[in-house]
Subunit: 327 residues, 2 copies
């Protein structure tokens, strides 16, 4: 691999001049500029990014920490972030915490030691204060509860869940079972809050029994199934797309006519849900905007490190399709 020295020698100039031509530092006369560019071309020179990073103290690399790549919600975010970063000249170092807080912690250290310029994190839990000790700009994404010291991007979960629930109510549902994987995360609890607000809006009493955490293990379907049997709801509100999947399985195992006997409203949305018939009615999160905003916020902070932390909440849409019927 040729280095900047080889280019300088071939072009008959100093390495500083080569650098100035390529990085657009200072003015270089047309003749020398031409010589440098010619030498670059004929050697096939590509600057060594590691050396650039060491000297200039930035890597133009963002760390992205995701709980699970396989979930279409997260992979949609990854896609949006990767694209947005690329368009602004940044690359993405991807790590998956696999929903494991200890691994998450280790991975942030590892990313920090690789000198990423900043971090976009979807944490596994609501206490990511330790991220502050990294000495790195951090943007929290999606799971943004617990702290206000970081820039954060998420959706208006309360509002979105309220609108979703109101839609179910408008269709005549009165016993709505809210299914979640966990209630440990504040974004999920906000969805519960929205659900509650909608119920109270029509003077229905909020019954905590109708909010069920199914867990993430294989037993989750069973938990959902038993909750359905016990409470006999006319509609299910699945708090995440993974839970939608679960709900569908439970509905099938119970042999309920769908959506005639039981309606289902999802959250998150995902392309491949068109496999489901009836098509899933769902609250849809603006993936592209979430990712682009997170990336944008991070780069803004790189430019202006001292400005106060911002929180951006985006609105969700309701995609009315076929999985909700009148009871």
């Amino acid at each position: 691999m040729p280095t900047i020295k080889d280019v300088a020698k071939l072009a008959g100039v100093s390495i500083a001049t080569v650098s100035n031509v390529l990085s657009g530092g200072r003015y270089v006369s047309p003749e020398l500029r031409g010589a440098v560019l010619g030498a670059v071309r004929s050697l096939g020179y590509v600057p060594n990014g590691v050396a650039q990073s060491l000297r200039s103290r930035r890597t133009r690399t963002l760390g992205l920490l995701i709980p699970e790549i396989t979930n279409p919600f997260f992979s949609g975010l990854v896609k949006a972030i990767e694209r947005s970063a690329r368009e602004r000249g940044y690359q993405v170092l991807l790590s998956s915490s696999e929903e494991n807080p200890d691994l998450e912690f280790d991975l942030t250290l590892s990313l920090a030691s690789r000198q990423v310029d900043g971090l976009i994190v979807i944490p596994t839990h609501d206490s990511p204060e330790y991220l502050g000790r990294l000495g790195l700009p951090v943007v929290l994404l999606d799971r943004i509860g617990g702290t206000e010291r970081f820039d954060r991007v998420g959706v208006d979960n309360v509002g979105a869940a309220r609108i979703g629930t109101e839609f179910l109510l408008s269709q005549g549902h009165r016993r709505i079972l809210l299914l979640a994987s966990t209630l440990e995360l504040s974004n999920i609890r906000e969805r519960v809050e929205g659900y509650k607000q909608a119920l109270e809006g029509v003077n229905l009493k909020y019954d905590p029994e109708l909010v069920v955490a199914c867990g993430r293990e294989a037993s989750a379907v069973r938990v959902a199934l038993e909750a359905i049997q016990k409470h006999r709801p006319t509609a299910l509100f699945a708090a995440t797309n993974r839970i939608s999947l679960l709900a569908v399985q439970a509905i099938r195992e119970l042999g309920l006519a769908f959506p005639q006997q039981i309606s289902l409203l999802g959250f998150d949305d995902f392309e491949w849900s068109t496999l489901l018939e009836p098509y899933l009615t769902t609250v849809v999160q603006p993936l592209e905007a979430l990712g682009a905003t997170a990336c944008g916020l991070l780069l803004e902070r790189l430019r202006e490190p001292s400005r106060p932390p911002q929180t951006v909440l985006l609105p969700c849409d309701l995609a009315v399709r076929q999985s909700v019927a009148r009871p």
Copy 2:
């Protein structure tokens, strides 16, 4: 951020000694070792990975180039690769080519200039020879046609498609429509070859008309739909999971009883396909093994740069579920 100099000063030793303690280079006496470790701890020192990379000429970073993160087949591979890399002390720089060859080319240059130690590429086309000019170890994954100069990991597409088709034949199907997005990729053409072999195995004439490339645009459903109307097959063999999705939509639009009137066999498999009822019968690729093998092959080559290129073909399974019935 403290540097190795700060540690050395606090511990009262030279920076070489600090380096030897931390990187396990040469023997250091217990006393000095203790002093160094103490200083590291009290300063919260973390080595600067960029400086390490510059000097040692390796970044412990792998470039991963994927056509599309959102497709569960690819995201499954990403997951496997990321995990495998992490377990071996490597990180992953992820880029998406969005099925665009020009972007793919640019991204490889960009990854190379970031000095990744090696590249795992799922190319957009069958002529990735240009990757040889990067001067980097490259492993081709999944779409491995066109050249034998690189290490390659994929599945036995011919065998897998043959087994799949044989299963359809064994169920009594005789008019089987093979749907693909494109026939430009050799891994897809190999699947066609397997399909052909299976037909000829039972003395059925191979009819090229029954192999249809639907494209990747929005019009793809229509193409599939018209092919079904025209040829009236009793079974569809979808060559990828994306095409399975398409096939399901076409079947629905045509109002065919599924699987009674028309059977569907998929390729790739994906977790979220359980949304489909009847459950999709499908050829399943060993995602975890594919990813781990690709990563392993790359790291082996880093150790032994001059050994001849290897090709690893893994076998697929057939998951018999519910979407194939007797005609």
